[in-house]
């Protein structure tokens, strides 16, 4: 169990004090994959650096299974750090070492005997699927392979916690998915607690059970990924969720204004449904019940989360206002999340 209790972190900068982390309270259960999402500068890295004792909190305590990390020093702190693995956006591998020697570095630091180091490193190479590349240098690997080395290195000392700080942010979408799948696999096989820090909601939806949304140093929303996706409360959360739900049209997502411009008439609504609902003939039902309404599909997306599928569908309804209102009521009886994006 990891517990952040009223944790704050202030930095003294030339422009005065800066609160990077502001009164954060989070509990993370053993063996879960917990997501922390927020834009750049929100304080995510500072928060997890404190977990590893790389940074000391200004106030509050960070409790890992009963140990207050902020109170550890010297050898005790270094021992604690060996129980936490960390992977990074830019991999942070030593270019001067081969794959196998990079993976062996934490083992050297933990004073594991040479023969055992080799054996363990070879196991890890198999686990992350890098057989045959043991003696390559990082400069000979692709981004995805480098991150696999990073993951193997982070797991070398059999940590109980793995911190992934934007570990997929420098990777293309396919490679991101491969790395996320690998994280899911090791979470299951090793019963590892994983803290996944990212600014991409996609990564959260794919692997996390619970998520905390950070904004300007504060945690503004926490909950199960499924709930946060279905009923985002804060504006920033809605923004993250909708970024994820708006399909990528030739790389740039349509903003609300663009949507309204393109579909000026009637009303634009977004339906959010999950699991079995996705299989119901919802749209055709509405068409049957309200024949005078013209319904056009603007966009749609389906996402697989750890708790099942989540879908969204943006529709444009043109017709009588009373008919539209009745249609919205009808949708509610189907227990489909309905949100009016724009009134024509």
């Amino acid at each position: 169990m990891i517990r952040f209790n009223n944790v704050s972190k202030q930095y003294n900068t030339k422009d005065g004090g800066l609160t990077a982390v502001n009164d954060v309270n989070i509990e993370i259960n053993d063996g879960e994959i917990f997501g922390i999402v927020g834009y750049s500068g929100a304080g995510k890295s500072t928060l997890v650096r404190m977990l590893d004792g790389l940074e000391a909190p200004s106030t509050g305590e960070i409790d890992i299974n009963g140990t207050d990390v902020a109170k550890l020093h010297g050898g005790q702190l270094r021992k604690q750090r060996q129980k936490i693995g960390m992977i990074f956006q830019h991999f942070n591998l030593l270019w001067s070492r081969t794959v196998i020697d990079n993976i062996a570095l934490p083992l050297e630091i933990a004073k594991v005997p040479k023969a055992k180091r080799k054996q363990r490193a070879e196991e890890l190479i198999k686990l992350v699927g890098l057989e045959g590349r043991e003696h390559s240098y990082p400069s000979e690997l692709s981004g995805g392979q480098k991150q696999r080395v990073g993951i193997a290195r982070a797991l070398a000392n059999e940590p109980t916690i793995l911190i992934s700080d934007e570990a997929t942010s420098a990777l293309d979408p396919d490679t991101t998915n491969e790395v996320l799948d690998l994280l899911l696999k090791i979470n299951k096989e090793m019963n590892l607690t994983i803290l996944l820090i990212t600014h991409e909601m996609h990564a959260i939806a794919k692997v996390c059970e619970r998520v905390a949304v950070m904004d300007s140093g504060r945690v503004v929303e926490t909950g199960s990924v499924f709930e946060v996706f279905r009923h985002p409360k804060q504006d920033i959360t809605k923004k993250f969720v909708s970024e994820e739900f708006t399909p990528q049209q030739s790389d740039n997502t349509m903003t609300l204004e663009e949507l309204v411009k393109k579909y000026p008439d009637g009303q634009i609504i977004r339906l959010v449904f999950h699991g079995p609902q996705a299989e119901l003939p919802i749209v055709s039902d509405v068409v049957k019940h309200f024949p005078e309404l013209t319904i056009s599909i603007i966009s749609g997306a389906i996402h697989q989360t750890q708790e099942g599928a989540l879908g969204s569908l943006d529709l444009q309804l043109v017709g009588d206002q009373s008919q539209i209102d009745q249609a919205l009521e009808y949708l509610k009886t189907l227990r489909v999340g309905t949100e009016v994006i724009h009134h024509g």
């Binding site: 060996q82 960390m86 591998l93 270019w95 001067s96 050297e108 240098y137 000392n157």
Partner: protein
């Protein structure tokens, strides 16, 4: 009688005492290499102290950084020829003599080590901070970070810097030679210039150039072998 003027005076090879040329070459080579060993060790230690104490906040660190920085800056700015004279009494004590190759060593080391130390400090600062943080997050001690990350990750730069330093050191040995430290500089001055034997001067020059080329070549090869950043 040998020609002492004109272009031809440079090519009177029968006037060259090849035995003393050989021993002078040998003196230059070992003066250079021996002082380089000391310069590399001292330079890395001083560079490491400068690097490690640079951004630490403790008073002790500040003072150490200031003292080493001052030492390095002072000895880096004293012209070599003046440093030799300045160090004569110390040389006398250390080497027991003020002439000959052994006497040149203290001045060579003291003038070049600070030069190399500054380079070393800047190479250490160029090591990726993310990699250092990764090592720290693995629970590495400062000493482990130095030996397992800092030194290996800056190895090609350390070698390139040592190559540059060696080459300027060869220049210093020639200068030291002119005031009695032996080696090719001494030979070119005494047997060449003072005895009006231009051929000796030319041959000594060619040998020094060859030595420089060899050092540069060997340095480049080692940089290439150790640099795994681009393969």
């Amino acid at each position: 009688m040998a020609n002492t003027t004109g272009l031809k005076s440079y090519f009177q090879f029968k006037n060259v005492d090849w035995g003393s040329m050989m021993s002078a070459t040998w003196e230059t080579v070992w003066m250079t290499l021996l002082s380089m060993v000391a310069i590399v060790i001292l330079g890395i230690i001083l560079g490491l102290i400068l690097y490690e104490t640079r951004s630490k906040s403790g008073v002790g660190y500040r003072i150490l950084n200031w003292i080493v920085g001052l030492f390095v800056n002072i000895f880096r700015s004293i012209p070599f020829i003046i440093l030799i004279i300045l160090l004569l009494p110390i040389t006398m004590k250390l080497a027991g003599t003020i002439i000959g190759p052994r006497a040149a060593l203290p001045s060579l080391i003291i003038s070049a080590a600070p030069f190399y130390a500054r380079m070393v400090e800047s190479y250490f600062r160029e090591v990726d901070s993310g990699v250092l943080e990764a090592a720290e997050s693995m629970g590495a001690t400062t000493w482990e970070i130095i030996t397992k990350v800092l030194l290996p990750e800056s190895k090609p730069a350390l070698i390139a810097g040592a190559t540059v330093t060696t080459i300027s050191l060869i220049g210093y040995t020639a200068m030291a030679g002119a005031i009695g430290a032996g080696g090719l500089g001494n030979l070119a001055y005494q047997d060449g210039f003072q005895a009006s034997n231009n051929t000796v001067t030319l041959v000594a020059t060619v040998i020094i150039c060859l030595f420089v080329f060899i050092v540069q070549f060997v340095g480049d090869v080692f940089v290439k072998i150790t640099d795994k950043r681009t393969l």
